[in-house]
């Protein structure tokens, strides 16, 4: 029987992997991941209005052009503003410049001394100015006014330096596990992207594949030949094992594709030095945040349990999908039955997303122990520091135990359902199978 089980697993796995659609789907996924990782370059490559510079015309009667332009541009850079600015000094007549505003998307700034307030200014545009540009201009003009005041106040250079130098602010967070809210936000976004999304995608794939395969064998009556040669237990096991192996392989492939996409991004960064340095800096910052947050330490502690929890959950969904598929005779019937399964998965998905918002929620903690949901919730709240390693261990044990129980009772239903071709109503069939079990 072991040989037959091995063969059935190989056959089932081959049916999924040795198809042109598997290859095409994986190539598309790889292309999409590379595209997502390099989306800014792709957008830039095709060009567009975003390349145009915002022109700022400065009519300066205070001789402050150098200060204005350097302060404005450094402010813009420090805020990470994506817009490019070009500041030009002009001596043209203001009325003439105003006439050209409609055609050219410009901002005209006038700077004039004022006897009472030291400095007066106008910001002239055809359309309302965007908030960020206005804030930058406002800050720069106010800073310019401070400069003018300082210069005319006969202060000593030391006094000026002390006045203009930035205040040293020390950031202190008393929560030792998560140093600050900012890093927690980054972690929660990362965890959702790395854990929840791919696993949600993989489980959906798993349940659909098992249903389609079992229904294919049932609807062609090939099931009768198969079951006359191998026991329903061996057949059931082969479907569960093959599907779980498939999603694990697909998951690993996704990791490889992500690394590839990232490597391509780095490679392209090497070609364009400036942005490469920017990205390297960003990654460095991100890495620093992750290191400071203690996530890696937590991950190191919990990884074996998390992996077991994932595997147990894959098996759980595979068992349940197999049982449901055995009771149906067509893919349409199976899709109806699959809906509650998908709803359970969705609950886990949303609860995991909400975990970082509703920190310390008892409800979320309870859900983290419930099999079929726990694999999405428990790792997230563990990494966010909202639960302990022991609690993660309990969640894993629950899932593993539930896996055995579900297989035990599921197999009974599977044995009855797999050769059931009755055309009576779907739910009636389920109840009949459960009763017979």
């Amino acid at each position: 029987m072991k040989t037959k089980l091995k063969f059935l697993v190989k056959q089932s796995l081959g049916k999924k992997i040795k198809t042109k659609w598997f290859k095409i789907a994986n190539i598309l996924v790889l292309i999409c991941l590379i595209a997502i990782a390099n989306i800014d370059r792709i957008v830039t490559f095709f060009g567009g209005d975003f390349e145009e510079k915002q022109e700022i015309i400065l009519i300066d009667h205070t001789n402050s052009y150098d200060f204005f332009s350097s302060y404005f541009l450094s402010m813009s850079n420090s805020l990470g503003e994506m817009k490019n600015y070009e500041i030009q000094k002009s001596t043209e007549n203001i009325e003439k410049l105003k006439e050209g505003l409609k055609e050219e998307d410009r901002v005209i700034i006038t700077l004039d001394f004022d006897s009472e307030n030291y400095l007066k200014s106008q910001v002239i545009t055809y359309n309302p100015i965007d908030t960020i540009t206005y804030q930058l201009l406002s800050t720069t003009i106010n800073q310019l006014k401070s400069n003018i005041v300082i210069q005319t106040s006969n202060m000593s250079p030391e006094e000026i330096n002390a006045l203009t130098s930035p205040v040293e602010i020390e950031k202190i967070t008393t929560n030792e596990e998560v140093e600050n809210a900012e890093s927690q936000d980054i972690i929660s976004v990362g965890v959702i992207l790395v854990i929840i999304m791919p696993f949600f995608f993989l489980i959906t794939m798993l349940t659909q594949m098992i249903g389609a395969e079992i229904n294919d064998e049932k609807s062609t009556r090939g099931m009768e030949i198969i079951i006359s040669n191998v026991s329903p237990k061996v057949h059931f096991l082969s479907k569960i094992i093959a599907s779980t192996i498939f999603v694990v392989v697909q998951g690993l492939l996704l990791v490889v594709y992500a690394i590839l996409a990232f490597a391509i991004r780095m490679l392209l960064n090497g070609v364009t030095q400036t942005s490469g340095m920017e990205i390297s800096g960003m990654i460095g910052d991100l890495w620093q945040t992750i290191l400071q947050s203690g996530v890696l330490h937590l991950l190191g502690q919990g990884l074996p349990l998390i992996l077991i929890l994932f595997l147990a959950s894959f098996l759980l969904y595979a068992i349940l999908a197999g049982v449901l598929a055995s009771m149906t005779t067509s893919v349409e019937d199976y899709q109806q039955l699959q809906t509650p399964l998908m709803i359970i998965l969705l609950i886990g998905y949303y609860v995991a997303i909400m975990a970082s918002t509703f920190e310390g929620s008892l409800f979320i903690k309870i859900l983290s122990f419930i099999p079929m949901i726990s694999f999405l919730v428990a790792p997230v709240i563990f990494i966010l520091g909202q639960t302990t390693l022991m609690e993660l261990f309990i969640s894993t044990i629950f899932s593993v135990l539930f896996c055995f129980i579900l297989f035990h009772y599921g197999l009974r239903i599977y044995k009855v359902g797999i050769l059931n071709y009755s055309s009576s109503k779907l739910w009636k069939k389920i109840m009949k199978s459960v009763k017979k079990a």
């Binding site: 029987m1 040989t3 037959k4 063969f7 059935l8 056959q11 049916k15 294919d216 064998e217 062609t220 009556r221 090939g222 099931m223 009768e224 030949i225 198969i226 079951i227 006359s228 040669n229 191998v230 026991s231 050769l419």
Partner: protein, 299 residues
């Protein structure tokens, strides 16, 4: 030897098979007859182990049929049981390995059978691309690929033209020569008559007639007399012991109630002109079936 003793099967309140007993020896071909819903397929499924019986015993060579012996059994289902997305080669390997065979052996036998059925070119074609008849051939090959000791054929000739039916028959006869136990059902009574040495007629799951075909026919009193002569049908019908007279394109078929009535008909024919044929035949199986079941067998 395949032995069924007092086998009973219920579907809820419905008795699908009722106290069925028969045995089939090695090298025998056994027919299971009955109208739709008589319990033929249920019986096959119980033999192969797909359905659990509620009562009785089913033994192959004195042992219960379980997964230890199913490798020795070939089973052809009434409906197509092929996985249509697979190629012929993949399909036969799939079912062959499940019969405990190794791939090399399967491929050797597959090549032989494909050649035998003149469909070598379909080896790498997908099942769904084949015609119904060719799909049936592949299904038949999957049933016999393991050279079974027990071969169960549920409506094996469905979808086949007469030439292919002839091919199947040849193979089945060869398997019989190899001492295979063959049990089959067919809608075509002429196939049953050609093949079966023994049979059971099922009505609502219960055996109403069983035994060897020869004995059944012999024990059946009614006979048919084929006559070619210038006869008066009304006079023929008046003869004592004549049940009915049918006129076919070639001759007259006189149905008589027993052996003794033959001489009555013969005495009349002697007086007729242009007598070229007077032939006494056993009744057809279909007539016996009609007598026992109340309806014609086919459809």
């Amino acid at each position: 030897m395949l032995t069924l003793e007092h086998v009973t099967k219920y579907y809820d309140q419905l008795k699908a098979v009722d106290d069925l007993s028969f045995e089939v020896k090695k090298g025998e071909i056994f027919g299971l007859l009955g109208v739709n819903g008589a319990g033929k397929t249920t019986t096959f499924r119980m033999i192969i182990g797909l359905l659990a019986k509620d009562n009785g015993t089913i033994l192959l060579d004195g042992k219960p049929i379980d997964y230890n012996v199913t490798d020795k059994i070939g089973f052809l289902t009434e409906e197509r049981s092929l996985l249509t997305k697979l190629t012929v080669k993949e399909q036969v390997i799939y079912y062959g390995v499940l019969k405990g065979m190794d791939e090399k052996n399967i491929l050797n036998r597959l090549d032989y059978w494909l050649k035998r059925f003149h469909i070598e070119e379909y080896k790498n074609r997908k099942i769904k691309e084949l015609s119904k008849g060719n799909q049936q051939k592949i299904q038949f090959i999957t049933a016999i690929i393991n050279d079974p000791e027990l071969l169960i054929l549920d409506e094996p000739f469905t979808g086949l033209d007469p030439i292919n039916v002839e091919q199947f028959m040849e193979v089945i006869k060869e398997l019989k020569e190899k001492n295979t136990i063959i049990i089959f059902s067919s809608h075509r009574m002429e196939h049953v008559e050609l093949f079966c040495e023994k049979l059971v007629i099922l009505v609502h799951g219960k055996s109403v007639l069983s035994g060897s075909l020869k004995e059944i026919k012999k024990s059946y009193q009614k006979k048919n007399i084929h006559i070619q002569a210038d006869v008066d049908i009304s006079k023929l019908k008046e003869i004592e012991g004549v049940i009915d007279v049918e006129k076919t394109a070639e001759d007259y078929i006189v149905k008589i109630k027993d052996q003794e009535s033959i001489s009555n008909v013969f005495n009349y024919i002697k007086k007729c002109q242009n007598v070229t044929e007077f032939r006494v035949e056993d009744p057809t199986l279909n007539e016996i079936f009609l007598e026992k079941v109340g309806v014609l067998y086919e459809d």
